[in-house]
Symmetry: C2
Subunit: 169 residues, 2 copies
Amino acid sequence: MKGPNPDLNTLKKIFILQDLQEAELAKVWGASVPREFREGSVIMAEGEPGEKMYFLLEGEVEVTKRLLLPIDKTALLERIMNRQLSKDGVTLGEMALIENDVRSANVTASTDCRMLELSKENSLRLFNENPAMGVKILFRLSQLLSQRLRKSDGDIIKLTTALVVALER
Amino acid sequence: MKGPNPDLNTLKKIFILQDLQEAELAKVWGASVPREFREGSVIMAEGEPGEKMYFLLEGEVEVTKRLLLPIDKTALLERIMNRQLSKDGVTLGEMALIENDVRSANVTASTDCRMLELSKENSLRLFNENPAMGVKILFRLSQLLSQRLRKSDGDIIKLTTALVVALER
């Protein structure tokens, strides 16, 4: 199914894999399973348990979270957090994998998507058997999470400011 | 200054160091410098460059961020993000270290504090020389950042909801 020619050039563009040598990329490829998702299909559902992470090789996904208030009593308002494109070297689902927690957001395929799926078990095995590679991946993963946290904390400051202004009107 | 008896039992309580063996904790201790901060002193200032991270061994700190709007034209409102206690196994300043970015928040000592300071250079050297230890630390660091991100994203949902309600009044 994976064929003799692993797509290492595409894998190299994944942000958290950017420091790996070709032989290391081949190990990640070997430990993963190719997956395809059709346009419109749900890749992850917020609140569900998740034991797999995905590298987005081709396509586009939409990441959303539910807001707390019902609109019209029929639909929950969803906040579109962002669109993620394969050219951005996106990893999906890594939070649930690291934390043993449920999925933190919904991810839907906005186009047909080609992904590589890596289970928690296989990723831990990769890190244990190749710790130097593990350091490279986990350092970039920490960097990615740190950047996202910085952005979220910035959004909190903006929203808090807007709320103070709205309440003072 | 560090003396013959490194405080490995205290170091073991730091969240991101919890998986280390005693010999590994001793390496972290050996690569670090003990620091003391008096009550009220500024440990980190938001927006400043930072190349060091700190393990809080004893004491309590307050983490704050500036809001965007001036209050009374004299003071910027500060948002108290949280209080961190040494018993919680706190690491400070790890985001700037991972990201080559400026400090994301202010950290002030609310009591006299005893810390261990680890430079970026020394932490990278530790990870390279001891990759199996690096994997343990970076996996827990990813977990920590992931938990904080989950909390921040939850706060964004609450604030967005409150703002929608406030604007609809």
